[in-house]
């Protein structure tokens, strides 16, 4: 995809110079009088999206959407002035997508995105390939963010004591309150997540200046406080790590799910997958994971050691003494010695990471890395990044201390995520002024007397700074759908300023960043270019710290080991699907199978097979887990690879105040988080009990059989087998066909998936859902095994169920040349195209389901019901290039045929041959591991042709001779 054609800067900066609200869109609009514009559409904003009732209201919405695009670019224009298509902006051609670069705030990584808008509506996000941070990769959460934008549960206006108010009314009430607080010089506390936006930080400092007595406290629902504190202590205040996995040969992770959810997973996955190429031979990255629950990272590890959190701490301190003594310290277990040997042989090229949110444990990890000479190579400590810098003790002190006069929650929801909910409620009760800045009602905003409805991140201006010091833009890609405004604007309003956030940000950029570059002469040019690219690298944003304080304490408390039967501990963990639960009302994410458990719509208590059998628990038994004051009931899931003494519970479920999608699913694990005097530990031991309630619950899993049954479905080899060519089953079957081969003219599309690279993160599934209007079916229907995903990821376990090896295999329609589905359809509703695609003709399908029965890969999906498309707001996310399927018809992966057509048309328009890489499928584009390759196999120079010739290439169920166009590259494990 060429950026020049895809990404359009929509900055028409000249307009912003006009000042005030009298902006005009183009000359035609200028010609219209104010009244004419006003009379065009008279409805209130709230009504606009409630229901599309008539042709007229449809046109209104269309007009609105179209207007939103240029409007959103830079300034506020009275929203009643919608521009009809008659006066259209040159950049908007109906049917042609416009792309804008922005950055999401929905995910851990902060993925850099290009947002596809059609007729003014954002409908899909893709990775921004210009970014050096996420490099075109995206995660499931930011892929789903476009649906959160159209969530009709979002707030439509700000509220004072639960009653809706317009902004003027709201500002006058709230500003008065804050002015009174200021007058008495009382304390204001501003609680935010650890923001890495330079402009926001600047705004906060301005806010502090204005009000005087302000505390800014960072609070992350899923805390990295241990890590932040360790780095601050070791490298000086404000220092944070940047991990450069790309420079490593060995990564040793102690419970850090760095490929799934830890710290910056998309960046790590990009680095990781590059190094997982067996062509690198001995330089292929080796991955060792030590963990107590089965994480996405653990499932990809070459070697996985199951160890309880306590044992992990013990191993780390033993490892530290081994590393520091150069291996001299004796009496260590062979397990630790082996780890030491591996680390010692790749000094300076190894990386030890640890997910344990414990100050002293993180100190040990720092010291190990230091002793191995990894700093400056695979880790850099710097003061520039503001990624995950919240210090837990500040928030804990706040809640335990006397309440301030006013408190502001900006984008955080501690009422849900703070472990002691009742304590937090008591704390909040005594604060007279409680303001929440939020996009939708949540547990915290329910407790606040003032709620400012804020824009979704796709409606907001903003910026951020990545771990590598790259600046990234956020820009609105649609005007605010509801009566909301940017959070920063509310803060500005409280300060009595009429400055728009946009102007504030621009001014900040002019002062701080424009001067740091030399390539652009004018600020306008610099601004427009940065906005176009979405990212900009400036010199001097990274300030590496070399000062090191070696006296950081490492005397970690290691609890005595007791048999699993006597004592259980709880490990709460984040998954890359539900995160901290802020996206709980997103149906795409709720229905996305967890990469490990394949469970949707809720969480479960992960229990090891041995513990389950000794307690007489089977998957689906509802168990009561109690620890401390907290007790929750959850269905158990018997999860291979869990440490026997550990019960794993994922975060993000059990929301009590959210929309109807996310309500009442699973249970809240945050109650088991414990404050250990330094930080919030996600690990609870002592006093944990687990008992059966006798009830049963059906788990909404998309896969219920977990063994490959010895079948040759996912092929794998060890690195040495690969190098010596042993253990390989190539194309060794002689296959005969009754049919002559199809004539192959023109393009011949094919796909290959590298199983060595694929981590199973499942981002491709959400991407496919968004691109292809795949319906969400709900929990009951998933239990009925009727999920509609065109792309699925099969996950199989192999070997000992105490610590199995795991494989992930993405499986979409295999587009067979001899497709079994095609011969059996009585009405020719599924046919082969001349370029090798197996096409489903929805209009022709009568729904016999014979094709699905006869599909050996079971990738066909049937519309059992008419899946609801009743929410007109949510419907705005639908891709107009793809039909919404009626009930009773079959559907399946189309290889994004609309993208193929678009690519071909574009090439023809430009009068050139289609180039390899012109067309990228939705799954392929979003894949952070670059595991999916698609292209024309008739072109011998294409990447896919190379992949097809790779000696690792094979097709699933080759012996059936259905000749799939989707092939796989054998998974290579980096072990002997």
């Amino acid at each position: 995809m060429e950026d020049s054609k895809k990404t359009t800067s929509k900055i028409q900066d000249t307009r912003s110079n006009a000042g005030g609200n009298g902006y005009w869109q183009d000359v035609h609009q200028k010609a219209l009088s104010e009244d004419e514009l006003k009379n065009e559409f008279m409805e209130s904003e709230q009504d606009r999206f409630v229901a599309v009732k008539s042709r007229r209201s449809f046109l209104q919405i269309m007009g609105f959407s179209v207007s939103a695009l240029p409007l959103a670019s830079c300034m506020k224009i009275p929203t009643k002035k919608a521009i009809p298509f008659l006066y259209k902006n040159d950049t908007i051609v109906p049917g042609v997508a416009t792309w804008f670069a922005t950055t999401t705030r929905e995910c851990t990584s902060g993925c850099h995105l290009l947002v596809k808008t059609r007729e003014g509506r954002p409908i899909k996000v893709e990775g921004n390939e210009k970014s050096s941070h996420t490099r075109g990769g995206t995660c499931p959460q930011c892929q789903a963010s476009v649906l959160s934008l159209y969530d009709s549960y979002r707030l439509r206006s700000s509220m004072v004591d639960g009653a809706g108010r317009d902004w003027a009314g709201f500002d006058s009430v709230v500003a008065t309150k804050f002015a009174a607080v200021k007058e008495h010089n009382q304390k204001i506390v501003l609680v935010t997540p650890s923001t890495n936006s330079p402009t926001d930080l600047n705004l906060i400092s301005k806010f502090k200046e204005h009000f005087g007595n302000v505390d800014h406290i960072c609070y992350d629902a899923i805390s990295y406080g241990g890590l932040a504190k360790s780095y601050s202590k070791a490298f000086g205040n404000g220092a944070l790590p940047n991990f450069k996995l790309g420079n490593a040969k060995l990564v040793l992770s102690f419970g850090a799910d760095f490929l799934g959810s830890w710290y910056s997973p998309i960046k790590f996955t990009k680095d990781y997958s590059k190094l997982r190429d067996p062509g690198l031979g001995r330089n292929m990255l080796k991955h060792i994971q030590v963990e107590s629950v089965m994480s996405l990272s653990g499932s990809n590890a070459d070697k996985r050691i199951v160890a309880s959190k306590a044992r992990q701490r013990e191993m780390l301190s033993q490892l530290l003494s081994l590393v520091e003594s150069g291996g001299a310290a004796g009496g260590r277990s062979t397990e630790v010695r082996d780890l030491y040997q591996s680390l010692a042989s790749s000094r300076g090229k190894s990386l030890v990471v640890c997910g344990d949110n414990d100050f002293k444990t993180q100190n040990i990890v720092i010291k190990i890395n230091k002793a191995l000479g990894n700093f400056g190579k695979t880790i850099v400590a710097s003061k520039s990044s503001h990624h995950k810098w919240a210090i837990d003790s500040e928030f804990e002190a706040l809640v335990n201390g006397p309440g301030p006069a006013a408190i502001i929650f900006w984008g955080t929801n501690p009422a849900y995520s703070y472990p002691k909910g009742s304590k937090f409620a008591d704390f909040l009760k005594n604060i007279p002024v409680r303001l929440a800045l939020t996009t939708a009602e949540n547990e915290t905003s329910k407790m606040c007397n003032y709620v400012a409805a804020t824009n979704h991140s796709l409606e907001s201006w903003g910026d951020s700074i990545t771990l590598d010091g790259e600046l990234a833009f956020s820009q609105p890609v649609i005007q605010a759908l509801f009566g909301t405004r940017m959070a920063g604007e509310t803060l500005l309003a409280l300060m009595g300023s009429s400055t728009k956030y946009y102007d504030f940000m621009k001014e900040f950029w002019r002062k701080n960043f424009f001067s740091k570059q030399s390539s652009k002469l004018s600020f306008v040019d610099f601004w427009n270019h940065s906005l176009h690219d979405g990212v900009v690298s400036l010199a001097g944003t990274v300030q590496e710290v070399s000062k090191f304080d070696s006296s950081i304490p490492t005397n970690v408390k290691i609890s005595k080991r007791v048999p699993a039967s006597q004592s259980l501990s709880i490990e709460c963990f984040e998954t890359n699907v539900m995160g901290d639960g802020s996206c709980a009302n997103n149906p795409w994410l709720q229905e996305l199978p967890d990469p490990i458990t394949k469970m949707t719509w809720g969480n479960a208590a992960h229990i090891s097979p041995s513990t389950a059998s000794s307690l007489g628990i089977v998957s689906g038994d509802v168990v009561k887990i109690s620890g401390g004051e907290k007790a929750i009931e959850l269905p158990a899931i018997v999860q291979p690879g869990v440490e026997p003494g550990t019960v794993g519970i994922s975060f993000g479920h059990g929301r009590s105040v959210t929309g109807k999608v996310g309500l009442g699913l699973g249970a809240n694990a945050f109650g088991f988080v414990r404050y250990n005097g330094e930080c919030f530990s996600h690990f609870a031991e002592g006093g944990i009990s687990l008992e059966k309630t006798g009830r049963k619950e059906k788990l909404a899993q998309t896969q219920t059989h977990h063994s490959m049954e010895g079948r040759d479905i996912v092929r794998e080899q060890t690195l040495s087998e690969f190098q010596h060519g042993t253990g390989h089953k190539g194309h060794d079957v002689k296959l005969i066909s009754m049919w002559s081969d199809r004539e192959k003219k023109g393009h011949q599309w094919a796909m290959a998936i590298d199983l060595s690279k694929c981590t199973g993160c499942s981002g491709c599934i959400v991407s496919c859902n968004a691109e292809n209007n795949v319906p969400v079916v709900g929990k009951e229907e998933v239990i009925n095994r009727r999920e509609m995903h065109w792309m699925r990821i099969d996950r199989y376990y192999k070997g000992d169920d105490a610590n199995p090896e795991v494989v992930h295999q993405p499986l979409n329609c295999q587009h067979c040349d001899n497709a079994p589905c095609e011969t059996v359809c009585p009405v020719l509703a599924t046919v082969q195209s001349s370029d090798g695609l197996n096409q489903q003709v929805y209009n022709r399908c009568v729904g016999t389901r014979y094709c699905a029965n006869n599909c050996p890969y079971k990738v066909r999906r049937f519309n059992w019901f008419r899946y609801p498309h009743e929410d007109p707001v949510e419907n705005m996310v639908l891709n107009p290039d793809v039909a919404v399927r009626e009930r009773g018809v079959m559907e399946k992966c189309s290889m994004c045929i609309q993208r193929i057509q678009e690519g071909k048309i574009e090439a023809r328009k430009q009068g050139r041959e289609l180039q390899d890489g012109d067309i990228k499928l939705a799954c392929q584009q979003s894949c952070p591991a670059d595991a999916i390759v698609f292209g024309d196999m008739a072109n011998p120079k294409s990447k896919i042709s190379r992949y097809l010739k790779d000696k690792r290439n094979y097709t699933v169920l080759e012996e059936l001779n259905v000749k799939p166009r989707v092939s796989y590259l054998t998974k290579i494990r980096n072990k002997e």
């Binding site: 359809c825 009405v827 029965n853 050996p856 519309n863």
Partner: protein, 461 residues
């Protein structure tokens, strides 16, 4: 009557009561002419209510979506196609009895062939419901027929066994219906000639196509019957052969088997005869036909059951042998899964009902005990339904990729739909015995002659 000499003198007469021709007509046409008895009214009412329930359930399913069934992404067919094959199988015996037994000159067929043929047609109608309602968009079912249209190249996929089904079954239905109707003509004329009611006379005059009963018409009638029997006989084989190809031509282990055509035909004859037995045992009681449908008939049909049951058993064991002999891991797994997997109970129900229990029919005592025979016929019907369930569901629910393995269980909608087709079946059958001659009057008279003569001889001795 030289032609009758080959009939053994000690053979039991086919009609056991000493009746005059007139009395035979009276016996058979009694209910038609005099109105139904209380037994008929009760049976018909129950059937009709069940039918109404079936209609309601199908209307609900079509208006809501097939999702109200228990199917899923892995098991795309289960009760629907099971019921389809089950009913088609039942529809086998009628044509087999009337056509093949006619060609082989098995005179005992005369008193049961009419009812058996009617059963065939009704069963095929019941079967025909399922391919239509199992579609996602049944309102487009007409797309399955090769009618002239304006869609250009887009027509039908003649490679699809589902399309072959459409042809096979519609042909079978047509030929069976014509055959049945031709056979009815002399009896319709009898009704016409006997009746005093002007309305009935008019209707039956129309229906009997001006039958005169002359030698010439009888001659042509018999020739036509033979020709139709000749046409129908291969259809008996072809219909179920083609139905079996729905499965045999697929790639799914457990379906993809060359033994299916003969196996299905044997199974169809087996289940068809079981159903004929069930029905006739009821009919002879309800309609007082004990002297026309005799224990001899029952005995003969039991023997057919015994033979076809063993053929089916042979097919079951052959499948297992082939699964092992093929060395195909998927095939092996599928059969082990049938016998030992989560649906093993269905498999063993099938084997018990179809192979083990019918072995009691070796004993004359069992064959002549009508209660036992009735139970046996029901058992075989159950067994044969399970056979189709086992083939369809257990093959689908665990096929190639274990990630997609799933379980299936029916919902109340599927169960009620199936019961509803029984309502349709019995409603139509009771209407048939009420309004049309349920036994071929003319043909029974033709075999009665021997009976009477034999009887005289027996008495003389």
């Amino acid at each position: 009557m030289s032609g009758d000499n080959h009939i053994a003198k000690i053979r039991t007469p086919l009609v056991t009561k000493d009746r005059k021709y007139r009395q035979i007509s009276d016996d058979i046409l009694n209910s038609l002419e005099k109105g139904p008895g209380i037994k008929w009214t009760i049976c018909f009412s129950i059937s009709f209510l069940v039918l109404l329930m079936g209609i309601g359930v199908i209307a609900y399913q079509i208006s809501t979506g097939i999702g109200v069934w228990g199917l899923n992404k892995t098991v795309g067919w289960s009760w629907d196609i099971t019921n389809f094959v089950f009913w088609v199988g039942i529809g086998h015996a009628g044509t087999l009895i009337s056509a093949i037994l006619l060609l082989f000159r098995q005179k005992w067929r005369t008193s049961i062939n009419r009812a058996a043929e009617a059963m065939t047609i009704i069963a095929v109608c019941c079967a025909g419901i399922f391919p239509i309602i199992h579609m996602g968009r049944p309102w487009l079912a007409f797309w399955m027929f090769p009618y002239p249209n304006t869609r250009g190249d887009l027509w039908l996929n003649f490679r699809s066994p589902l399309l072959w089904d459409v042809f096979a079954i519609s042909t079978y239905l047509t030929v069976s219906a014509v055959f049945w109707y031709i056979g009815l003509i002399p009896d319709l004329a009898t009704v016409r000639d006997r009746t005093d009611s002007p309305l009935r006379k008019k209707i039956f005059a129309l229906l009997s196509f001006g039958w005169t009963g002359s030698h010439r018409t009888w001659h042509r009638y018999e020739i036509l019957c033979l020709i139709l029997a000749g046409l129908a006989a291969p259809l008996v084989v072809s219909v179920h052969t083609i139905v079996s190809m729905d499965f045999a031509t697929s790639v799914i282990p457990g379906w993809h088997t060359t033994i299916f055509p003969p196996y299905f035909v044997a199974g169809a004859v087996f289940s068809g005869f079981a159903m004929v037995l069930t029905l006739l045992l009821i009919t002879r009681k309800v309609m007082n036909f004990e002297h026309y449908i005799t224990k001899g008939h029952i005995d003969a049909m039991c023997k057919v059951l015994l033979v076809t049951g063993m053929m089916v058993g042979l097919a079951y064991s052959t499948e297992f042998f082939m699964a092992w002999y093929s060395g195909n891991e998927y095939e092996k797994f599928t059969f082990m899964n049938r016998a030992m997997g989560p649906y093993a109970w269905a498999y063993w129900t099938m084997v018990s009902c179809n192979v083990i229990f019918p072995q009691v029919l070796w004993f004359k005592a069992v064959r002549s005990n009508l209660v036992l025979v009735f139970i046996m016929s029901i058992v075989v019907n159950i067994g044969m339904w399970f056979e189709r369930f086992v083939i369809i569901t257990t093959s689908l629910h665990r096929d190639y990729l274990p990630s997609s393995w799933a379980m299936y269980s029916p919902t109340w909608v599927e169960v009620c739909t199936f019961i509803g087709t029984f309502g349709l079946f019995f409603t139509l059958f009771f209407l048939f015995v009420r309004f049309l001659p349920a036994i071929a009057v003319g043909e029974v008279k033709s075999v009665y002659k021997f009976a009477r003569k034999n009887k005289d001889q027996v008495e003389n001795v």
